[in-house]
Subunit: 556 residues, 2 copies
Amino acid sequence: MQTAADSKLSGTLRGNMMESQLLVIDLLDFGRKTFPQQEIVSRRLEGDIHRYTYADCWRRTNQLGYVLNALGIQAGDCVATLAWNTYRHMELYYAVSGVGAVLHTVNPRLFSEQVEYIINHAEDRYVFVDLGFVELLEEIQERLPTVRGYIVLTDEANMPNTSLPNVLCYETLLDAQKEQYAWPRFDENSAASLCYTSGTTGNPKGVLYSHRALVLHAQATVSRALLDMDSDTVLLPMVAMYHASAWGAPYAAPLAGSKLVLPGKGMDGASMWELIESERVTVGLGVPTIWLTLHNYLAEQNITETPLERVCVGGAASPIGMVRAFAERYQVYWQPIWGMTETAPLATSLPPTAALMALPAEERYALQTTAGRAAFGVEMEIFDADDQPVAHDGSSSGELRVRGPWICRQYYKNDDLSSFPNGWLATGDIAVIDEQGYMRVVDRKKDVIKSGGEWISSLEIENIVSLHEAVNECAVVGVKHPKWDERPLLLVVLNKNMQADADDILAYLNGKIAKWWLPDAVEFVTELPKTGTGKVRKNELRYAYFHYLTKQGTAS
Amino acid sequence: MQTAADSKLSGTLRGNMMESQLLVIDLLDFGRKTFPQQEIVSRRLEGDIHRYTYADCWRRTNQLGYVLNALGIQAGDCVATLAWNTYRHMELYYAVSGVGAVLHTVNPRLFSEQVEYIINHAEDRYVFVDLGFVELLEEIQERLPTVRGYIVLTDEANMPNTSLPNVLCYETLLDAQKEQYAWPRFDENSAASLCYTSGTTGNPKGVLYSHRALVLHAQATVSRALLDMDSDTVLLPMVAMYHASAWGAPYAAPLAGSKLVLPGKGMDGASMWELIESERVTVGLGVPTIWLTLHNYLAEQNITETPLERVCVGGAASPIGMVRAFAERYQVYWQPIWGMTETAPLATSLPPTAALMALPAEERYALQTTAGRAAFGVEMEIFDADDQPVAHDGSSSGELRVRGPWICRQYYKNDDLSSFPNGWLATGDIAVIDEQGYMRVVDRKKDVIKSGGEWISSLEIENIVSLHEAVNECAVVGVKHPKWDERPLLLVVLNKNMQADADDILAYLNGKIAKWWLPDAVEFVTELPKTGTGKVRKNELRYAYFHYLTKQGTAS
């Protein structure tokens, strides 16, 4: 799918269909009409479990519409949230976009300078903030000139003592309002929400989603090609609503009529398991680390029976060891996903079709470590350094580029188009695509190890090492080498009560990868540094270990 | 969802998403990339069974793109088809819209004057015609000034002797072309196809579908709210590709990766069953009469085991007797659907959710005689004679009106907007909607019997009579009455080898409807007149029996 602009036909006949616009508010409206009694269950910041229905959510979202009007929010204004996964955040998702304003989900795990930068860059008018993030705002509030006030997402009884100016209480504001809001209709290309990505260098960059993009993305999300959700699905997004819209779960759930379980800030194994068990969660969304956390907790507790049917996993490569463990220990399908903030975020997946499940287990597990195939609407291609498309042969690699109606074409208020060559989004991932359209990310462009002018994929080595029974997690980074420029260093976190030394690990790798790919050294660590979304901070590791080989004198 | 035009917000911020357009050709492109080996099986007009894959279909559709260019077809030109359900017709669906032209599917069951009228009204440039419809065109070809030539959908060996001018052979044209066509990109609001509806009065009216409408409709079609299709589905559209796009099956199948079984012109019970059995069809699409035909055939043959899982039924009300027979005799779910040519056509359905299937059988059957609920994207409302919305209480009735992105806003080259009040499509159906959103058509506006100023629903009487064990089919029409203006006359077709008289039937009705709804007379007939799409021609019955009560002297 090319963009319309590049080859518009002139003189064609227009169809005689209604110009109904695809707006975000219609997703919740559909959910409350079609599945009024379906539940949204939240672990609140106040500590208890809250449950209500789509009908209730609709009622309060309507009240919130009036609140936003009363605050003077205009169409096109940005409204920030610093909040975990709860029903109140969901109400903001719909009401802010619903009145024509822009929901800016701020990632509170960013450095406070970055939070300050993005609130100012977005020119946010108000900030809706969860208990627990108030202090973060107190630190920077004097440098947020566009912000007119702060609304704490709690009731009067739980209002904190704070130095923030113009502080209001969410529940008090809602209580004062009526329940029948007349949602405006407008162009589907209007901005609905805004999320900043934090690169390893430079300032965060904003992705400004349109209503059209979010609705089309929600339709793709519930389809069998991606999350395959319906009214029997109980969905637990263990991905944050402050980052890439929790993979769009708040938009997709009402469309599918799924029960939505929102974990608040409870990202640890025990909290997660409590919700999975008590709410009979069937589908989880999360990065590999989250499922490793769950796996570690269940292993400790000797639990193998779960109500889970699938875990949908993205944000990092799927280690085959985890794929196998979830299949064989828990009878849970590990469903790989690929996407990024710039792709709203879901773009590819590998759903458990009858044909896939009929394959021999090892063949299926291998496919589950790919990113699957593109959903309808997403076109993907790989390109070499000269911008030429690379063959889809399963071995030739190139930079992955994508295009489609829910993919970013430019960062917000940013003239740097270097990530958008020729109408594509350049993803920064190096990938291969095979004849059947299965895509595999072989590395991040910046994580590839350049050894003597050739490329070594850190990911492929990690995938194999993760299979070793003693290994809990690992990371491979390129570190300085006097002769080869860069060589791979392997960092390993061992499983509790298990042992292995460098020779064991290297012997395990031997024969499974090219000899010259073998890491020059293995370092055992107690943990790996992670980003707010659970990805290993490779740039931090590279920085910390950059002189590792030259210092240790192991270079050869 | 209102139309954008009526309340556009000014000054809102536009999202920064790619403006990728939703085009029909992308559906087949997705299917051939993602499910290249999935099959399309057709009963050909030549008599044999033809099978090929989505990859083959794509290759030939590309060749057809070149053929259309060679014929001089321009963007916006209309190209007619008079064709049954086969792979060649499917190729035309994609190639004609794909090059930017408009696929005009002509219903060959119309009177030849109507066929002539619509070809001239659409200004069709070429006509692609199946063996068997050539004679129809020979009759009228002298009065088709815009038509430059005729392409017969067959190979050289089967070309007919015909008096048509400028006759070409489809397979010969394709054979001469290359297989890699560069499909143009253009505005998704461009017209993609055209279908005329034949009212009972006046000239047929054209519905001009846009690419956007057809793609959004296809996405809704494959979703669980409507046909719930996936790559395990084997779909048999027993609805014609010349009318309302066979309910969009040719567009939805590649998107879902379903196997498509196209019955050619074989609409009889034996031909239908042969395909269902040999191709292991899981889902059928058709009007109630089609499934009655199948039921009659299976009953004759003493067959109760079928590979069918669901029959999706629209175009007329679902009789509860058929719902029950399919459930209890065949273990097949009767899935009701509502839609019309003006709605692309699917708008509502009742999918077999876990919640529905858990209901007691009789409660479920009753719901299956409703039209189900609106799909996401379709807004529906009922209005009284003063254009005021009527309560959704399950008993108040009003005219059904719908709006949404795949709903017609005006007929093609037709300034009469009386069917489009205030941005809605007025459907001509009288319906009730209940608190849960289930919609039930109680009658066609024109079929309602006006007896002494009150309304009698012909449909409700038919639904009950159809439950009588001796009744195969029935119809109720309003006929002239000297005192009450109109009174109901019941026409009955009995099952083979079963007997019943008027008193039996009326006794069966007694107590199940209001006394004053009881038909004044019962007439036994051997068959009911049907339209090309299998609906009972009530206007014909009304005309034929208009003086029945006054002539017979049974008026009281």
